[in-house]
Symmetry: C2
Subunit: 504 residues, 2 copies
Amino acid sequence: MRPEDAYKELLKWSRKLALLESIVEILEWDQRCYIPQKGNTYRAEQIGYVARLRHEMMRKPEVGEWLAAAEGGAWCSDPLLDESVNLREWKRWHERATKVPSGLVEHIARVTSEAQTVWAKARENNDWKSFEPCMAEVFALKREEAEAIGYKEEPYDALLDQFEPGVTASLFASIAGRIKEDLQKLVDSVRDCGKQIDDSFLCRRFPIPIQEKFGTMVLKRLGYDFNAGRVDITVHPFTVLVGPSDVRITVRYDEHDFRVGFFSMVHEGGHALYDQGLDAEHWGTPRGMPVSLGVHESQSRFWENMVARSKGFWKFFYPRLLQHFPILADVSLDNFWRAVNKVAPSFIRVEADEVTYGLHIVLRFEIERDLLNGRILIRDVPDIWNQKMKEYLGIKPPDNKFGVLQDVHWSAGLIGYFPTYLLGNIYAAHLMEAISYQIAPLDDLLERGQFFTILDWLRTRIHLLGCTYRPKELISQAIGQEIDPSLFVGYLKRKIAEVYGVVS
Amino acid sequence: MRPEDAYKELLKWSRKLALLESIVEILEWDQRCYIPQKGNTYRAEQIGYVARLRHEMMRKPEVGEWLAAAEGGAWCSDPLLDESVNLREWKRWHERATKVPSGLVEHIARVTSEAQTVWAKARENNDWKSFEPCMAEVFALKREEAEAIGYKEEPYDALLDQFEPGVTASLFASIAGRIKEDLQKLVDSVRDCGKQIDDSFLCRRFPIPIQEKFGTMVLKRLGYDFNAGRVDITVHPFTVLVGPSDVRITVRYDEHDFRVGFFSMVHEGGHALYDQGLDAEHWGTPRGMPVSLGVHESQSRFWENMVARSKGFWKFFYPRLLQHFPILADVSLDNFWRAVNKVAPSFIRVEADEVTYGLHIVLRFEIERDLLNGRILIRDVPDIWNQKMKEYLGIKPPDNKFGVLQDVHWSAGLIGYFPTYLLGNIYAAHLMEAISYQIAPLDDLLERGQFFTILDWLRTRIHLLGCTYRPKELISQAIGQEIDPSLFVGYLKRKIAEVYGVVS
């Protein structure tokens, strides 16, 4: 078989995989947004079935032959050609897939689909016990998956690698360990500075339809294309890439806390801008796919924090916010900006401030790593969770709804996923620095409403490149230097100093 | 292969087909309810792909062998056993499927998916020309499909038979011909009686959220399970069976016409009651499936017209309606009931009264039959439509939005589907007679709010039986006599006499 023909077969195969994947996405989107309660059982069957078709296609025996035949193509000389990029990633997919038996894949899909339903109910009723067996089953299955994939040091590596290629548990543990100390010190310094920030006005009444209107307006200004997306409401906000021009987000509103809806909307909007910015010409192939979850999270966190929690952003949007919510008329821009940047240990990760957020991640990482290594038991997780919350953040959740039951991830089988959130923060701080250095201080761009300038920079250097580079390379290329986790801490220190008017 | 083993294989195969089918349903539901505009192109690819998988599975070579092997089973002696029922229908499926090439099936799925998008826009913009090429393509492809399937008399038969097994174009033409005359006479007698019915109050302001509330309350009373369904809003209302406990409907509201939303809701609710009443134990096999579109329509029309346009129904619900809409306080129950039964030629089929409705169907049937037989051209259809409207109903549509562009069917490839609407009316009249005879006059049951008594009768005799009998047999069994189209006309005559206070 000629390399060109083999490549063509692989292209067709890859696009079929994308079709199946996109179908799972819409099934899951519907399940999380609109499905009637009794429809969940059969939905699990539907998802399990498509997941199995997808997995069978992934491990088709011909794929190995095509990959081998395509090796000899003219593209070999340049690893940055579309063909080389795709072949590299396809090989990675195929290797993973052939290692995990179809039955296990389908089993995991079915169990996690059902577990999400159980979780949603358990969370609602604050009922850990009803979720515990599901969680045990999910972890047992994911451990089995990790064994099937194989790893050098520990099972966690096999899972983390799917989300952030090239990062291992021990590497992340060393980054997390240092950052944990730095963040705890920062939290301490805020506490010790004695300055109180008033954020009580953020808990006035913000009618949800007006929150929707304001958020929609902001998303449009940032560049989100509503003709290629939509916003729905779910318990746990998420973004879903249904197709090349169909990128949907969901949000959760709280009428009595402006932050909940608005920042989740910008966060998911950041994810969506990445997905909407992928190269449609390469849809269904790695060249047109997001490179990693860490990079994905760098986009959401960049827009949520570096952009939407900056002073420049609010200099631009605050007058518009006041038009929507005259109830804030007595609040100065400066006080509003301080309030949305208040640092205060809290229970819910997605509502955490930028400083304590990282500690929520470290906590989850440590727990799931210990679970996979058999160092702790599922039944002890709520207690361990609460102990760590006390240790890292100085607070103890009142119940499991505010603790171990808050995130969808474990029910969805997304183990090894949390580290990408912290990596995303680290990358995001770098992106901010780079834009400020290469174009103009980010705050100035924002104050002038030059959102498309920023989006354009991200499009060219991140979104449109797909999997051309590996995650770390991609970021390094974009920022023009090596990644340095301490830069994120430096960014936070400067911000805290400004918000609290102290030098830590 | 033992017959039992062959049957087991067929069962698995049938359930996989149902999974694929159900996935197409949710993809289409999303497309009609929530998809962002730019997502339509890729959605067409997704649907086309699953349709092809489904078609490939349908024509798997092993199926023929399994069917042959299962012939010798112990169930052969009794055609009403579940196994016999399933085998009979599977054979029918398989025969049809092996006749139509996979490529054509996929082509039709893709073209009709795109055509629906084009149609929705064309209808919105009253722009027939933009839809004309799509319609031509759909009809050409469906003609090709009919040729592949084969037929005795004319291509239309091959298409109609999928929707209403056992009915041919010429058989339906003879029923339609007689009914057309009767209905025209009825329309004339209403016009000539000189009595005017005031329905202007139905066009007062009915806020949509309150329409939703009232409609939801009614649907619940009729027996629709909202934990196994939901109601959304679309241009063209429809019902979709997503899974054994997931039956969704959509409606279209008009703030200034109470009838539009309410009767579409009860109509789709009637479809949904059938689907929710199928035997879940037999999900994914013919034994647990609706038997035909005609029978399906008999359910929707029964609830919409025989139930929700009866005096008994409004004796029960009118006080509740007034609570929701005090704006009707000056309208007597009797006048309200007359108004919702007013006979007046109008342009839109789904809003037509019971008498003129049949004429809308005959018109469509004649056009699509002539198109398939090559007796007329696509480009002439708007004119022919308007001429027939003038001839049958005495009115001429002001534009194509109120004419040829009003229905989704042709864009969706649903040719040969319209006759089932009239058949449904005929069956529905029989069901009303039978219930009145076997239990108590329908009007009395309704006045007393005994909706579950009615639903229970339908469940036992229709819904739970699935495909046990062929459509005509099923209805005959339920009503205890042969089907007689003139009974429907008799029912209408009596109703008109009461509504208009005249004897025709």
